[in-house]
Amino acid sequence: MSWVLAFSPEELTAIRLSLRVAFWAMLGSLPVGIAVALLLSRGQFWGKSLLNVIVHLPLVIPPVVTGYILLLLFGRRGLIGEFFADRLGIVFAFRWTGAALACAVMGFPLLVRSIRLSLDAIDRRLEDAAGTLGANAMWIFVTITLPLILPGILAGMILSFARALGEFGATITFVSNIPGETQTLPTAIYMLIQVPGGDLAALRLTLVSIAISMLALFASEALIERATRRVQGL
């Protein structure tokens, strides 16, 4: 069984990178995800259904297409990429930040959907009640709305994290497959399968991938259950 744990430095790098990319993809998209979910759940504005379609687009178009669009927009000379690189010093192209961006975009529909559903489900009359007690909109959101949708937020975060761990198509299209920089678990496995004698390593990383995903799902179930009980006041 010793072969199972005999990770090469390259493999360890891929694991660490994968976790880092998934973590930042999840965390970075969270505030935007909450804001968009709020807009979709409560906003009344022209183009709401268009926004809804755009948010869900990564779920239905081929990941390669998403990756290519990201390349056009966020590439070195892309419309947005140039702005980020020159003004903020953040480069996405062929960097791990780009991988995180690709994963964030791919997981975004799942994140938004989960938060939106719990926003739709909460009793808005509780917010009215908080208003009559003197709380302003911001305070109501922080003390009432946010705690009540916490289970939905946690579920959305886990879905986003899991999606990021498994992301392949958009990542490899946008930031390629550079070991140590953009090579995540799925792309590493794909590479290993291509080369002769890489089967064993591929199997190792596959098991790691399964283990991380299962761990994340178990942890999320426990967290969500705790949060739900708390929200229901049990």
């Binding site: 009359r125 009215d128 009640a129 009559t132 007690l133 003197g134 709380a135 229901q232 006041g233 049990l234």
Partner: protein, 376 residues
């Protein structure tokens, strides 16, 4: 001092209501769908009326003519909702203190303890709303609204979702609230027993309009309003004082302006004040002082008003030394006794007719009974 004039359209329903009321408890009474809740929502700032003007203690909260609309959170109006609306993720203590973070005035030291004590919720503080009974939830909801330092307390059918036992449990707390705090209360209800027991002023609503406003006893003795105030439970309200206990027969004598009433024993101290509702259907009329009759209560008076009707029964208002009393007789009896306004008569009421529903103020065996000396 509360002054309300509101016009608001909700689909086919037009709310067009105006009333003024002072200290104490003002009941908005009417059937479901008569616009009571919409009216209090306008007062609390939860709906913005198309036209209207709302003042509390001289402060303009809504004035559509001058484009004034103070948002709900700045109105300082405590709102007790029908379903409580406690925050499920917070403990009872956190719920109670929620509004205090925003109250401009810190309030007196010990006020929190006083409210907790008054509502009897000290044991519940660490619990969450899901673990409370319906009655406990409403008491916490009342405390939460009170502790936000309101200048007006609005209660929208706070007992409607509770069973009879829970209602009897909470009513004394609301009475103490009315009597111990200098906060005017607007109380929405369609239950006449609650209203007659609690209300200082009564606003009768019907189809989005105010049908009548006035002191509760006066409104309840208006024969013309019975279709709105409820035929079956119609009756006059008398202010009484406990005058005597008869331990041998288990009776208590209540003194009223109209004369003495003997009722089943009540565990109240002498001098305690009490409101009594005498249902019209429990009152008989005699032309002579009755002899050899089992009924213990005989009040002399004159016929003041006889209701118009084609049906079998007639409501009439008697004047018993200035105190109105309502009697319901058959039309046949009215004719055969030759009852006309001005005629001297004797009203006969069985002591047994006084069940717990008939008593406002302190009912025996309920919390707060000993403190209840300020009614009427």
């Amino acid at each position: 001092m509360l002054s309300v004039a509101v016009q608001h359209r909700l689909g086919d329903f037009l709310l067009d209501a105006a009333f003024e009321s002072g200290a104490g408890l003002t009941a908005l009474f009417g059937r479901s769908g008569s616009g009571k809740t919409s009216l209090v929502n306008a007062i609390a700032g939860l709906i913005r009326p198309e036209r209207g003007r709302i003042l509390v203690d001289g402060a303009v909260l809504t004035d559509t003519a001058r484009r004034v609309f103070v948002p709900a959170r700045q109105r300082k109006i405590g709102y007790v909702f029908q379903e409580g609306r406690l925050f499920p993720h917070l403990t009872v203590r956190q719920n109670l203190l929620y509004g205090r973070w925003f109250a401009s005035r810190r309030g007196q030291a010990g006020e929190v303890e006083h409210v907790i004590d008054l509502l009897g919720i000290a044991e519940l503080l660490a619990r969450r709303p899901a673990n409370l009974s319906g009655g406990e939830k409403q008491r916490v909801a009342i405390g939460r609204a009170l502790l936000a330092q309101p200048r007006l307390l609005v209660m929208d059918e706070p007992l409607a979702s509770l069973d009879e036992a829970r209602k009897t449990e909470i009513l004394p707390y609301i009475e103490r609230l009315r009597d111990e705090f200098a906060i005017p209360i607007v109380y929405v209800s369609h239950a006449i027993a609650e209203v007659t027991r609690l209300a200082t002023t009564m606003v009768v609503m019907s189809e989005g309009r105010v049908a009548a406003v006035g002191p509760t006893a006066e409104i309840m003795s208006r024969i013309g309003l019975f279709p709105l105030t409820g035929q079956a439970e119609a009756g006059a309200i008398l202010s009484t004082r406990v005058a005597e206990h008869d331990t041998r027969f288990g009776l208590t004598t209540l003194r009223t302006a109209a004369g003495d009433l003997r009722v089943p024993y009540m565990d109240l101290r002498l001098g305690a004040q009490l409101r009594v509702r005498i249902r019209a259907r429990d009152v008989m009329i005699a032309l002579q002082p009755p002899q050899g009759l089992s009924a213990l209560n005989i009040l002399p008076g004159t016929v003041a008003e006889i209701g118009e009707t084609d049906g079998p029964s007639v409501d009439m208002r008697l004047d018993c030394a200035g105190q109105p009393l309502i009697a319901r007789l058959t039309r046949r009896s009215v004719e055969s006794l030759g009852l006309v306004p001005g005629r001297r008569v004797y009203a006969v009421i069985k002591s047994i007719a006084f069940d717990h529903q008939a008593f406002g103020g302190a009912a025996p065996g309920t919390p707060g009974a000993d403190a209840d000396t300020r009614h009427g």
